[in-house]
C-alpha cells in the first residue's frame, strides 16, 4: 500500500467515528451486518429478476426494458444500502480490513460490477442491445455480484 494510503488509514483509524464504532456495543456491528445483508438481498434479487427476464425465463410477454427499469431502481437501492453499511463497518476497523487480501479483491470486484451495471442496465433499459448481448451482460453482472459476495464472505476467513 502507498504511503498516502497508509496515512489515510491511520487518520481514519484515529478518528472519533472509528473509535465510536469500534468501542460500541457489539450489537451495533451486528446491526450494520444485518443492514448489509438486507442490501445484498435487494441487490441480488432484483438482478436475478432482470437476468431471468433477459434470458426469457419469466415475464416473457412483458417488455424487457420495462422490467429492467423497475428492477434497476431496487438494485441501486440495494447497492447504496450495502455500500453505506459496509462503509461504517470499514471505518470501525480500517486497518483490519485494508490489509485483508479478500477485502482488496472484493473492492476491485465491486468497482467492476458497478461499472458493468452502469453501462449494461442503461443500455438494457433503453432497449438498445441485441438479445445475445442482453443475455451475456445479465449473466456477467450476476456472476460479478456473486463473486463480490464470495469475496466478502472470505474476509472473515483469510
Amino acid at each position: 500500500m502507498s504511503r498516502t494510503g497508509t496515512e489515510l488509514l491511520n487518520v481514519l483509524q484515529a478518528s472519533r467515528l472509528s473509535h465510536a464504532i469500534a468501542k460500541s456495543n457489539h450489537l451495533l456491528i451486528a446491526s450494520l451486518q444485518i443492514v448489509h445483508v438486507l442490501g445484498i438481498t435487494l441487490l441480488l434479487a432484483s438482478l436475478c429478476l432482470i437476468t431471468l427476464r433477459l434470458w426469457g425465463l419469466v415475464l416473457a410477454e412483458r417488455s424487457a426494458a420495462q422490467v429492467v427499469r423497475e428492477a434497476s431502481a431496487l438494485l441501486w437501492l440495494g447497492v447504496v444500502v450495502a455500500i453505506g453499511s459496509g462503509a461504517f463497518m470499514f471505518i470501525g476497523s480500517p486497518r483490519h480490513y485494508a490489509y485483508n487480501p479478500a477485502f482488496e479483491v472484493k473492492m476491485t470486484l465491486i468497482a467492476l460490477a458497478i461499472v458493468a451495471e452502469l453501462l449494461f442496465l442503461r443500455a438494457a433499459a433503453a432497449g438498445r442491445l441485441p438479445r445475445i448481448a442482453l443475455k451475456l451482460g445479465a449473466g456477467l453482472s450476476l456472476s460479478l455480484w456473486l463473486a463480490v459476495g464470495v469475496a466478502g464472505r472470505a474476509i472473515g476467513f483469510v
Binding site: 451486528a30 445483508v37 438481498t41 434479487a45 431471468l52 419469466v58 415475464l59 472473515g156
Partner: protein, 167 residues
C-alpha cells in the same frame, strides 16, 4: 429447548459435523452458499410481496408474477435449507443455545403460515385472476406481513452469533 441438547451434541460429534467444522473450506463455502442463496430466494419472495403491496411492476398481474417467480424462489429456498442444516450440523450445541435461533424458527413458521394462507385462501378467490394495479387490502396485508417476517428471519439468523445464550 433442553431436550434438544443431547441430539445437538450427537449431530455435532458425528463424522459429518466434525468434518465440516474442521475443514478449512467447508464451513465458509457452506455459509457463503447459505447467505447468497437466501439473498436470492428470500429476495425473490420479497419482490413478489412488493408487487402485492403495489410498489413494483404494478401493470403485471400479481398472479403472473407469483406463478412465474415461485419455482426459482422455491429452488433457491431448498438450497438455503440444505446449507442451513449442514451449518447447524457442525455447530448445533452453540446454535440452539441462542435465543435468536428460537425466534428465527418462530418467524419462519409465521412466514410459512402466511404463505399458506396466501396460497390457499387469499389467492384462490377468482377476483385475483388478471387483477391489475392495486390489489384488495388483505392481499396487500399478506405481502406486508411476508416482507416483515422474512426480514425478521434474516435479522435473527445474523444475531445467532451475537446472542449466544438466553439472558
Amino acid at each position: 429447548m433442553w431436550s434438544l441438547q443431547p441430539l445437538a451434541e450427537r449431530l455435532e460429534q458425528s463424522s459429518l459435523g466434525t468434518a465440516i467444522a474442521e475443514s478449512r473450506y467447508a464451513f465458509p463455502v457452506i455459509e457463503g452458499t447459505h447467505l447468497l442463496g437466501l439473498a436470492i430466494s428470500v429476495g425473490l419472495i420479497i419482490l413478489i410481496d412488493l408487487r402485492l403491496v403495489g410498489l413494483l411492476l404494478r401493470d403485471v398481474p400479481a398472479r403472473t408474477l407469483v406463478t412465474q417467480l415461485r419455482p426459482y424462489a422455491l429452488w433457491g429456498y431448498a438450497i438455503v435449507v440444505i446449507s442451513g442444516v449442514l451449518l447447524l450440523w457442525s455447530e448445533a450445541t452453540s446454535v440452539i443455545a441462542s435465543p435468536a435461533w428460537t425466534f428465527k424458527w418462530i418467524f419462519m413458521a409465521l412466514a410459512g403460515i402466511n404463505a399458506l394462507y396466501f396460497e390457499f385462501i387469499v389467492a384462490r378467490r377468482p377476483l385475483v385472476d388478471g387483477d391489475q394495479g392495486a390489489l384488495p387490502r388483505d392481499l396487500k396485508a399478506a405481502g406486508l406481513a411476508s416482507i416483515s417476517l422474512w426480514t425478521l428471519v434474516i435479522v435473527c439468523g445474523r444475531l445467532i452469533a451475537y446472542l449466544p445464550r438466553w439472558p
